[in-house]
């Protein structure tokens, strides 16, 4: 074999090796990029309930906002005493679910004859239209007519009995479970639920709750308000079937990432219900504390619950409870597990030794769940205020890809008036977006 032939063979082998290596790499990259990922789209966009900074909204609206392009799209709005809940983006990215209570429309009082005096009566305090439905409720049976189809009979009887024993007058209102397309072009009412109880309190609570989606986007977990309490049900969007899962006093629910568990709080008890209905676990908490259900770890084993001073991580398989106290924080809230489940991100007000500083400073912090070491990731800029210790609309969340933090707060404008803002932080740079102009656009729209 001469040198020329050796070179030619070597050249051919090299070409084969090159083609093989590049082909393998390209196939791998394509497979990795195109493989289905479970990110919800809100890593690039957010869906958010926007209300004016003064806290007494005459208009509130749900928008989607593209973090990169600054484009915002109106999904739904209500005026005056109507209310919208926080939105929840479906894991497949196609829909955004939320609750809506339309503002009351004054109507003629219902004729007395329409109410059967012999039935287990519910006195209708006000007459309003909700979602086009008049809410004149005659009997307990009528109020719970939907539950006949989805609730075990003994639970239904218990609820009826509880409602019939109520001394005070009932006020009923319709709460819609809605879904909207992220582009704002489509909106559907999935259910209209008759709710009872103190309307003002219930509506205030609606700000802090939102529906939840199953990981496959097939089911929406929603609440129905009943005289100060809630029950969680799931609605299968294709079959239209509803199933009741658990009772709650907070209306906050959280579906585990593996889609097997639903968690909520019932007074001082953490309730965990298997979504298939086979198991229900109860874990007693300290009754004196006010708990906020923050969410699940990515492996669906641990639940994060926050009080005002501590983060509580509960391993539901072992029942093990771990308390994390940030020694440098006065108040903590809005905890989120990191993508690897080893850290919890949260918002904290700093302990301030300087009495001249009236406004508490807020930090985005993280605690390592293994060594309990806390780290300040980012301090919210001076002039941005947010509160953790009351029912404010402060919000803090982490994008599902773990790369973007969002805090909602208030910033004093140049005219001295407070402005609602969204503060995005990607670990290096911050971006502040004022949301009040979005509401002005609605109010001034023709």
């Amino acid at each position: 074999m001469n040198a020329q032939e050796t070179k030619r063979i070597g050249y051919s082998k090299a070409v084969i090796a090159l083609v093989a290596a590049l082909s393998c790499l390209i196939i791998y990259i394509l497979a990795c990029v195109l493989s289905p990922v479970t990110w919800s789209p809100d890593s690039s966009k957010i869906a958010i309930l926007v209300t004016p900074a003064d806290g007494e909204p005459n208009v509130s609206a749900i928008f989607t906002y593209d973090v990169a392009t600054d484009e915002h799209v109106l999904l739904d709005t209500v005026q005056e005493s109507g209310i919208l809940s926080g939105p929840a983006w479906s894991p497949d990215g196609k829909w955004i679910a939320y609750y809506k209570v339309e503002p009351p429309v004054p109507q003629e009082p219902a004729p007395a004859a329409a109410i059967d005096p012999n039935a287990a009566s519910l006195t209708v305090k006000s007459s309003e239209k909700a979602g086009g439905e008049a809410n004149v409720i005659k009997t307990v049976e009528e109020l719970f007519s939907e539950e006949n189809k989805m609730m075990p009979p003994f639970l239904l009887e218990a609820i009826k009995e509880m409602s019939a024993q109520q001394d005070e007058d009932y006020e009923t209102f319709g709460m819609k479970l809605m879904v909207a397309a992220p582009d704002g072009n489509q909106r559907k009412v999935l259910r209209v639920m008759k709710c009872t109880g103190d309307k003002d309190n219930t509506l205030r609570q609606l700000f802090f709750i939102r529906p939840e989606w199953s990981p496959d986007s097939a089911n929406i977990f929603h609440v129905r308000c009943l005289s100060g309490g809630y029950y969680f049900a799931s609605l299968n969007r294709q079959a239209g079937q509803t199933q009741v899962h658990l009772f709650s006093t907070t209306g906050q629910g959280s579906v585990s990432p593996d889609g097997k568990w639903l968690a909520s709080l019932l007074e001082g008890i953490l309730v965990l219900a298997r979504i298939d209905g086979t198991t229900c676990k109860y874990s007693k908490m300290d009754e004196d504390l006010e708990y906020w259900l923050s969410g699940w770890s990515p492996d669906s084993r641990k639940l994060l619950i926050t009080t005002k001073e501590t983060l509580v991580v509960i391993d539901h398989s072992t029942g093990d409870k771990q308390l994390y106290v940030d020694p440098d924080a006065k108040l903590v809230g809005y905890g989120h597990f990191s993508a690897d489940g080893d850290n919890v991100y949260y918002l904290a007000t700093r302990k301030n030794d300087d009495p001249n500083l009236s406004e508490p400073r807020l930090d985005i912090r993280s605690v390592n769940l293994n060594d309990k070491k806390t780290t300040v990731l980012f301090s919210l800029p001076e002039g941005v205020s947010a509160t953790i210790d009351d029912d404010s609309l402060t919000q803090f969340s982490v994008s599902p890809d773990g790369r973007m933090f969002l805090a909602r707060g208030v910033k004093e404008g140049k005219d001295g008036n407070p402005k609602s803002i969204l503060l995005f932080w990607d670990g290096k740079t911050q971006k502040i977006v004022e949301t009040d102009p979005w509401l002005m656009e609605i109010q001034h729209a023709p």
């Binding site: 082998k13 090299a14 093989a20 290596a21 590049l22 790499l25 990795c32 990169a68 890809d401 973007m404």
Partner: protein, 195 residues
């Protein structure tokens, strides 16, 4: 999203639930891609520093290991087996290493038009297996929770990516040069030009 995140978004699904977080920072690629790019980066640095790439394609013993490493990927890459993060990293590491051990010598040989400089010895083969053994130990200790390690992992991964880009650019340049020479200087019809 920073620049590195953006670059790797074209190369990786970036599933955060399957990405390593080092000292609170999430790597901009999934666990398997971390293995692929780190494997390529380590292999590239080894070949470059030892100048093994100039000796042509590796001997058969190394070639068989590399082919086996490439063939393992479909089993793990298409989730036929998915035993956890360490295995994802491992399958990526040996895959990336195999790619570079084929790609770099092949590009060198093509650019030198079949000429190779030097020959593989027993020592060079042993060095490859030592490197391969080291790669196999990485999933046992990866990642170290230090911000320096985060930047090191990012740097090595970026080196792996640069290696592939360098190879593709070099081959593209070589092909363009050949084509220009063929078309402009000698013409398609010239039999001598083809040789």
């Amino acid at each position: 999203m920073n620049t590195i995140d953006y670059i790797f978004s074209f190369l990786c699904g970036q599933d955060a639930s399957r990405s390593f977080a080092i000292a609170g920072q999430l790597l901009p690629f999934c666990q398997r891609c971390t293995g692929v790019y780190v494997g390529m980066g380590i292999g590239f640095l080894y070949l470059l520093l030892s100048r093994q790439y100039r000796k042509g394609l590796p001997p058969l013993s190394i070639l068989y290991v590399n082919i086996a490493s490439l063939l393992i990927m479909p089993l793990f890459g298409f989730h036929i087996f998915d035993p956890g993060a360490a295995w994802r990293l491992w399958s990526g590491l040996i895959f990336g290493n195999a790619i570079v051990f084929l790609l770099l010598p092949a590009v060198s040989t093509i650019l030198n038009e079949g000429r190779i400089i030097g020959h593989h010895t027993k020592t060079s083969t042993l060095c490859f297996f030592a490197l391969f053994a080291f790669l196999n130990t990485i999933p046992l200790w990866f990642p170290i929770q230090s911000i320096y390690f985060y930047y090191a992992a990012l740097g090595v991964s970026f080196t792996g990516l640069v290696c592939v880009l360098f190879c593709v650019t070099a081959i593209t340049g070589f092909l363009i040069k050949k084509t220009v020479v063929l078309v402009n200087l000698k013409g398609f019809g010239n039999e001598c030009a083809r040789d």
